[in-house]
Each structure stands twice: as structure tokens, then as C-alpha cells.
């Protein structure tokens, strides 16, 4: 009895911490309703600055970091084979991934190494949207999937820029998961 008295609160704290740690790093704001045409071509569009107006200019992500983010989005979407092809700046693509940077903290590798405990962490919150481009002038571009994605690097052994790679990975993973679910639903509908 004494053993449980001592250990139960510890288990409770650990469970809460684990639950917090395993929490999703995103909030889907627009769920994909129908599977994407797998022979379609996608491209990576612009990633714009939507940081608060008083955000210090020097602390904003650099153009190189945004380019790296676009590179990772291209790579992750290709890896997941959601589209027939994911091209860079492809004007004829049927789908385009666009995004906004909502929050950014560059962090410091040295501070992470010397102090730790989350101090010096690199953080980013982005809004990513998958848009179906209008096929004719009468139609309008339509957001078919969107979400806000957050990532943090608090480990000193990793580069702070890893946040962009992780966000790109999350985006591709969630989209793929949703695609699979929709296809499964479609197949079960056909079978019945």
C-alpha cells in the first residue's frame, strides 16, 4: 500500500508529461474532403511573412531559410508520393502549397548546449494550405487542405533550421494519412 502511495503520483505526472509530449504538432483548419488526383502535379508556391507587425526585422527567418523550407516541402511531398510529381515553381501545376509564417524564434545552439531546459529553442508556427488551382478563368482557386503546424528544436545537437524540415514532414504525413483514409472509405463504399 505504501508503495502505491509513493509511486502513483509519479506515474500520474509521467503520464501527463508523456501525453503532452505525444500531442500532435498541428491543428487542421481545413480537412481534405476528397482524394487528390494522383496523376496531378503540385508545386510549392510562396511562403509569406504573417508575423506580428511589431516583430523585429532582424529576427525574421531569412530568405535562405524560407527557400530551405520550400525545398523540404518539395522533398517530403515527393517522398510520400501524394502527387505524380512535385515541381519547384511549376506554373502549370494543378495544386499549389502555400504558407505563412505566424511565429518564429531562431534560437541559439550554444544556449541550448550550455543551459538547455528549453532555453534557446528554435520555434516556428506556420500555416500551410494546399490549393487546387482554377482550371478556367470562371473558376477560383480553392483551399482543399490547410492547417497550422508548430515545431520546436530544443536539442543542442540539432540545427535550429530543422524546424522547417519537421513541419514539412508533418504536413506531408498528415496529408498522406488523410488521403489513405479517404481512399479506404471510397474502396469500402465501392465494395458495399
Amino acid at each position: 500500500m505504501n508503495f502505491w502511495k509513493r509511486t502513483l503520483p509519479l506515474f500520474a505526472v509521467m503520464a501527463i508529461l508523456i501525453a503532452g509530449g505525444c500531442a500532435k504538432n498541428y491543428r487542421i483548419t481545413h480537412e481534405l474532403e476528397a482524394p487528390i488526383d494522383r496523376i496531378a502535379i503540385a508545386t510549392i508556391g510562396e511562403i509569406v511573412d504573417m508575423l506580428p507587425e511589431d516583430f523585429e526585422e532582424g529576427k525574421k527567418p531569412t530568405t535562405e531559410q524560407i527557400e530551405a523550407f520550400k525545398f523540404h516541402l518539395t522533398k517530403q511531398l515527393r517522398n510520400k508520393e501524394i502527387f505524380a510529381s512535385v515541381a519547384y515553381d511549376e506554373p502549370d501545376a494543378q495544386y499549389v502549397v502555400e504558407g505563412s509564417i505566424l511565429q518564429f524564434k531562431k534560437g541559439s545552439g550554444l544556449v541550448r548546449a550550455l543551459i538547455g531546459f528549453g532555453i534557446g529553442s528554435a520555434k516556428v508556427t506556420t500555416e500551410l494550405r494546399l490549393i487546387r488551382r482554377a482550371k478556367s478563368p470562371e473558376e477560383q482557386d480553392e483551399v482543399i487542405f490547410a492547417g497550422n503546424f508548430k515545431q520546436t528544436v530544443s536539442d543542442w545537437t540539432e540545427s535550429g533550421d530543422k524546424i522547417f524540415e519537421r513541419v514539412a514532414k508533418d504536413f506531408a504525413k498528415v496529408l498522406k494519412k488523410r488521403m489513405k483514409k479517404l481512399q479506404k472509405e471510397m474502396n469500402s463504399g465501392k465494395d458495399s
Partner: protein, 321 residues
């Protein structure tokens, strides 16, 4: 209950209070209006400032809306409380409109072929690179009988042609050494001052897959193939003694160079330590065309080309300009 358990209970209590408080802080809005004109009436929502979304349930399903899409939130009294929940992410339709115009402008700039950032990203990681390494060279083939592996050095220059291809110029001193025990088996070695100098000169075409510091790709792979020459020179002298007759013999290196046509191929890895500095390691196989030897088959007048091989392992540093 001792003091330690009390502390643990207190910690659990604090965590539980925070969790509960975050749920209780949900507010009711009489209207949530989005920039695209969509409206939600009489919803109980929660502002998640971490993900910059507002969450609420509609028809039993959870709905998230990004702060960037929200035009205004009215409370139960009809008062505009948008600023309270969105904070610095509050945007009026007018600012959203001006941002949209800016975005289009940005996109046009971005897609411009002459955009400096785009040019910078698309150009090769470096224009010129200088790898310097230590190599361990292992000879193979009858041509190198009497010589053993050793440590040498390599200096190279890489000139980028495009993002993946570059021209690789190599000058390498192989560390191969003479092995008198194999040259004169059974003889006693009195003195050995023989020096076997093998220099290699190659021009190769190299394909590299990264690395790229700005894309956070710290490790890259490369492979290359090329043509060149290998020169051999044996200098100095050695004294050996016949253990049965005690006769002494002197082996003198001719000092004359002998250059041979050679082909090289190899692969390796580059790891970046900074945007302009890294380490590299890899392996190279050189095939040296020794010459022709008369075939023992009488009716074959052409003979065969004899080859020798060098297997090199190298590790070194690389500087990018």
C-alpha cells in the same frame, strides 16, 4: 504522509489545475466572422495561442480556424472582442487586402529569373573547393610485387560546373614503400634507404549530391571518374647480405621516372562543419596501364595490356570558396 509525497501530490495538483484552467477559459461568441464571409453564430470557442487557431465544436465535430482567417469575433453582448483573443494577429479586412497585394508582389519578385535570392539558391554551393587529405594506398598486381601499402597525401581542386557537376584535379603522393623481404627473400637487410616515389595526376568529372548548408543538408555524397598519369621513381640504395655466403649486395634505385597512363574512379562523403568548411572521406580505385606483354599463345601476335591497381582510402578537410 512524509514531505516528499506531499511535494509530489502538490505537483500533480498544479498540473491538473493548469489543464482544467485551459478548458475553463473557453469563451462564448455570438458571432465569428471570417474574411471569406463565412459566419458561425453562438459558439463556445477556445483560442489556442500556441497554434494560432480558434477551436469550437459545430454539429458535434471539432473545427479549427486559423487566426489569419478571422475577421471579427463578437461576444454575447455584441461587443467586438477580436483583439482580446487574436492579440497581435488581429487584422482588419483592409490590412488583409493590402497584405494580399503585397503577397502577389512578392510572388512576382520571387518568380523573376533575376531575383538575387533565387540566383543565390540555385547556384552551386561553391565555385571552387580545395580538399586536402591523408591517404592510405594499397597496391595490387604483379607490377607492384616487392612494394607494400603506406600513408601519403593528396591535394585537389574542385571547380564547379553546375550544382551537381564539377571538374576535379588531383595531385597525390602515394605512400607505397619497398618491401625488401619480398624483393630478396631470405636475405639479411643491412641497410635500407630505398625511396619509392609514386605521384598521381588526374583530371576527373565529379557528381555530387549536396551537401547544402542553407538547406540544412550537412552530408553529401560524391562519385567521380577520370584519366591521368602515374609516375614511379625508385631512388636511394639498400644493402643486403646472403646469410649462407655472407656476400653483400647493393640494390640501387635507378632514379629514372616511369610514367604510365591511368584511370581513376571513386566515391566519398563530405560533411559540412560550416558553410565554407567540412571534412571528407572516401575510397578511390586507380587502374594503371602498365604496358603490353607478349602473349604466350603463339598465334596471338597482339599481346595483352597488363594493368596494376591502387586502392586508396582518404580522409581530410575541404574548404569551399
Amino acid at each position: 504522509m512524509d514531505c516528499k509525497i506531499k511535494k509530489i501530490y502538490f505537483l500533480v495538483f498544479v498540473v491538473a489545475v493548469f489543464f482544467t484552467a485551459s478548458q475553463v477559459l473557453a469563451a462564448t461568441a455570438s458571432l465569428i466572422e471570417l474574411f471569406d464571409g463565412t459566419t458561425y453564430e453562438n459558439v463556445k470557442f477556445r483560442a489556442d495561442k500556441s497554434y494560432k487557431v480558434i477551436s469550437f465544436k459545430i454539429d458535434g465535430k471539432k473545427k479549427n480556424i486559423s487566426f489569419t482567417d478571422i475577421s471579427r469575433i463578437l461576444d454575447n453582448n455584441g461587443e467586438d472582442v477580436t483583439a482580446r483573443y487574436l492579440g497581435k494577429y488581429l487584422r482588419t479586412s483592409q490590412t488583409a487586402q493590402s497584405e494580399a497585394v503585397e503577397t502577389v508582389q512578392k510572388r512576382e519578385d520571387w518568380l523573376g529569373e533575376t531575383d538575387p535570392v533565387r540566383e543565390k539558391y540555385n547556384k552551386p554551393l561553391w565555385s571552387v573547393a580545395f580538399p586536402v587529405s591523408v591517404n592510405f594506398s594499397i597496391p595490387a598486381g604483379s607490377y607492384y610485387q616487392g612494394f607494400k601499402a603506406g600513408v601519403g597525401f593528396t591535394g585537389e581542386i574542385l571547380i564547379a560546373i553546375n550544382r551537381n557537376l564539377s571538374l576535379r584535379g588531383t595531385v597525390s603522393k602515394s605512400g607505397m614503400q619497398d618491401d625488401l623481404n619480398e624483393i630478396a627473400p631470405g636475405f639479411r637487410i643491412i641497410d635500407d634507404n630505398l625511396k619509392f616515389n609514386v605521384w598521381k595526376y588526374f583530371i576527373s568529372l565529379q557528381f555530387s549530391n549536396g551537401p547544402n548548408w542553407s538547406a540544412n543538408k550537412k552530408m553529401g555524397l560524391y562519385g567521380f571518374g577520370g584519366i591521368g598519369a602515374v609516375s614511379h621513381k625508385l631512388t636511394g640504395a639498400a644493402i643486403i647480405q646472403d646469410p649462407f655466403t655472407d656476400s653483400m649486395f647493393i640494390i640501387i634505385g635507378s632514379g629514372e621516372g616511369e610514367s604510365k597512363l591511368a584511370f581513376t574512379s571513386g566515391f566519398g562523403f563530405v560533411g559540412l562543419l560550416s558553410p565554407s568548411f567540412g571534412i571528407e572521406f572516401g575510397a578511390t580505385l586507380d587502374m594503371i596501364m602498365i604496358g603490353t606483354r607478349q602473349n604466350t599463345v603463339a598465334f596471338d601476335p597482339y599481346g595483352n595490356v597488363e594493368t596494376a591497381l591502387h586502392m586508396d582510402f582518404h580522409v581530410g578537410l575541404i574548404t569551399f570558396l
